[in-house]
């Protein structure tokens, strides 16, 4: 362990020294780190003064936490170039080969580069923030309290770790610095959007959600680091010289995996779907456990907390909630007729959301979306119990007829997303990331088209035409 840390530090120290000697990195970094706080301060003051001319009642003090968040973010985006260049830059300059030919392990190289990648933006970000705080303190503006400061520093740190870990993944996978820089927008833009949400939370003053954002960003960063190290291959760094968009290869890879060895639809179901389902056995067990825990937790929460909350709710609150529930999920637009097609489209949309959320977050958001759906069922049944009905009756008569198809469909589509996340963070020797992504996409498409869509179609028909009849009959009794 000590030896590992020494080697990581050795790689990092050399790189740091190299950077401090490179005026092309240091000059813009120093200028922007020091100039941006001044600029931000002036812009904020003038903007508030300008708006207040027209009768608004804004005070500059309210902008200070928001400004700190922005000021910490900008130097990070500028020094991201260090991380983006870390591997591909060395490859382009031809200095990577002696390093790869040495007994340094992959983890030494990777974490050494990561350390430098994180260190530079953080020092720049912190310096900028401290400089801004000094400027603000001299203007006698109201300073945020220590708690908010800690939160802002944590957010800045989390942003830096997230962006740098993504940049290092890009740097390992790119073949040229140019390609890496082009791909950087895929890091900066989402983090900028994330910051808009965090800024809203800052103005809103919801610090609990902000802490959750810090934790979520750090989890994301950890997963990215895991993906990066899992797919770090010396061979890949040296072997690939150029990127080409080979549509024929992409299609062949996808179709080869999707069709597999099957010749007919029957054999496709027997061989390929069978194989896909066997691969999903372990993820399905996890999903089943999540489902049971999620269901029980939300059922419990609803039965315990709702009675406590209800006496405090005013009539206005209740009508507001009813209005919001009515507007959610397009129920209001559906009117009186929840057609099979509407239900089917809605459920397909939900499973697609699980997939999309899953692939951008290594399955975390996908599983969360699944838990949300399951939690909703638990919560509704909890309220049903509070209303004096039997939850078992409602479950059997109102949910089970279509749920017997719908719940497995939802579980399967979440399990495949969980598997995709697990495969992404596991080393796959001899495969490029592109090949792996295409194969995983084919696996998902196989299960989605072969199982999830048919199950959801049957579930929609049952939910539209059979469940209401059974539920009505059960409630009459």
């Amino acid at each position: 362990m000590r030896d590992d840390l020494q080697m990581v530090w050795l790689v990092a120290r050399r790189e740091l020294r190299d950077q401090f000697r490179d005026w092309r990195i240091m000059t813009p970094l120093i200028i922007l780190t020091l100039a941006f706080p001044l600029l931000m301060n002036e812009v904020a003051r003038n903007a508030v003064a300008f708006i207040n001319q027209y009768g608004a009642n804004l005070i500059v003090d309210r902008l200070v936490p928001f400004s700190i968040l922005i000021i910490g973010f900008f130097p990070i985006t500028i020094s991201l170039v260090v991380a983006l260049e870390s591997f591909v830059g060395e490859k382009e300059r031809g200095t990577i080969e002696p390093l790869l030919s040495s007994p340094l392990e992959n983890r030494h190289l990777y974490f050494g580069k990561l350390l430098v990648g994180i260190f530079t933006p953080l020092v720049a970000g912190y310096t900028s923030i401290i400089f801004y705080v000094i400027i603000v303190s001299r203007q006698h503006l109201h300073m945020p309290d220590a708690y908010v400061f800690v939160q802002l520093f944590m957010l800045t740190t989390a942003h830096a770790i997230l962006m740098v870990s993504a940049a290092i993944v890009i740097s390992v996978q790119s073949t040229t610095v140019r390609a890496a820089n082009l791909l950087a927008s895929f890091i900066v833009v989402p983090v900028a959007i994330l910051m808009q949400g965090e800024s809203a939370l800052l103005f809103w003053g919801n610090d609990q959600v902000l802490w959750l954002a810090v934790v979520a960003v750090i989890i994301m960063a950890s997963l990215l680091i895991r993906v990066g190290i899992a797919h770090f291959q010396r061979e890949y760094l040296l072997g690939r010289e150029f990127d080409t968009l080979n549509l024929r290869w992409m299609w062949k890879t996808f179709w080869g995996k999707f069709k597999g060895e099957a010749k007919t639809l029957g054999s496709w179901y027997r061989l390929e779907i069978g194989r896909a389902m066997r691969q999903l056995a372990v993820p399905l067990v996890f999903i089943a456990v999540f489902a049971v825990v999620g269901y029980l937790a939300s059922y419990q929460w609803a039965t315990v907390n709702v009675p406590r909350l209800l006496p405090h709710a005013t009539a206005k609150d209740i009508s507001e909630i009813a209005k919001n529930v009515g507007q959610s999920a397009g129920i209001a637009q559906a009117g009186q007729h929840l057609s099979a097609l509407f239900i089917f489209a809605n459920n397909v949309r939900a499973t697609l959301f699980v997939f999309l959320g899953g692939i951008i977050s290594f399955s975390v958001l996908g599983v969360l979306a699944f838990l949300l759906n399951i939690g909703l069922v638990g919560g509704v049944l909890g309220i049903v119990k509070l209303m004096g009905y039997s939850p078992t009756l409602i479950f059997v008569a109102g949910l089970l007829p279509h749920g017997i198809f719908e719940i497995p469909a939802l579980m399967i589509s979440t399990a495949i997303v969980l598997r995709i996340g697990a495969v992404l963070v596991t080393p796959q020797l001899g495969k490029s990331m592109g090949q792996m992504a295409l194969e995983l996409l084919a696996d998902w498409a196989k299960v989605f088209i072969g199982l999830v869509i048919p199950l959801l179609a049957v579930a929609a028909v049952v939910e539209a035409y059979v469940t209401p009849v059974i539920l009505a009959a059960a409630l009459k009794q």
């Binding site: 020294r17 390093l99 040495s102 007994p103």
Partner: protein, 269 residues
Amino acid sequence: MLNSLLMPTRGWARVAGYDVVTHGAEVRASVGVLTEQHGLYMRMTGDEYLEFFGQVYRLNSKTRKSRRDYLLDYFGLAGASSQRIGQYSKGMRQKLALARALMHEPPVLLLDEPTSAMDPESARLVRDEIARLKSSQRTIVICTHNLFEAETLADMIAIIYKGRILMIGTLEELKQKVLGISEYEARFSSNWNGEKLNLPAGVMLVEQSASSLRFRVERPPEANPLLMNELMSKHAPLMAFQEVPRSLEEVYLKVMADAQASHAEMIHA
């Protein structure tokens, strides 16, 4: 592949006793590599650079210092050790890269096109240094397209085509195998009509002129002294006796032509 950077699709290789697939780290620790691109960090000084790689190869500080001083001195870089590598000439850079490859005293040295893209003077400098490194304690593998370099430096030569070794052996063995039995030429200081010579076994006269004779000699170490004795005994005005030059280039071109022809035949079939 021999440095455990690229994985073989099939087959195996052992370097310094370690398997390249299963013991990558040990292989890399036993090998010194010099590639076509020297791969130096231009903002470091020569001294810092060797110190860094000494640490990478886990040498203790005392060994690092002594190896650094020795190598810088050995390659004539001691005077420039505190200069940034960016200020070095091409030859100096390649010599420093060679010093890096030798820092941990590897039993195996892999040199990939060590002098390509270098001016003749620098190339000569580096070639001389490689020749100085030959020792019974070290295996040096040079991959090169420069046949003169191979001829000058190598004890054993392998010709590789499409990933297969077509031929391997000493320079003499390759020449004999590809170009046939060696020929020797006797040159005379004045015209000599050439009395009837009693040629030793395995020697055949292949060409004759007033000022020279050319022989095909099967076993030169035994036959040449006898042949020269014979010439002297016949009072030939012998001025020079030497092998007719045959370069590695001739061997290479012939081997490649044969290989390409048989490859084309295979595709045709």
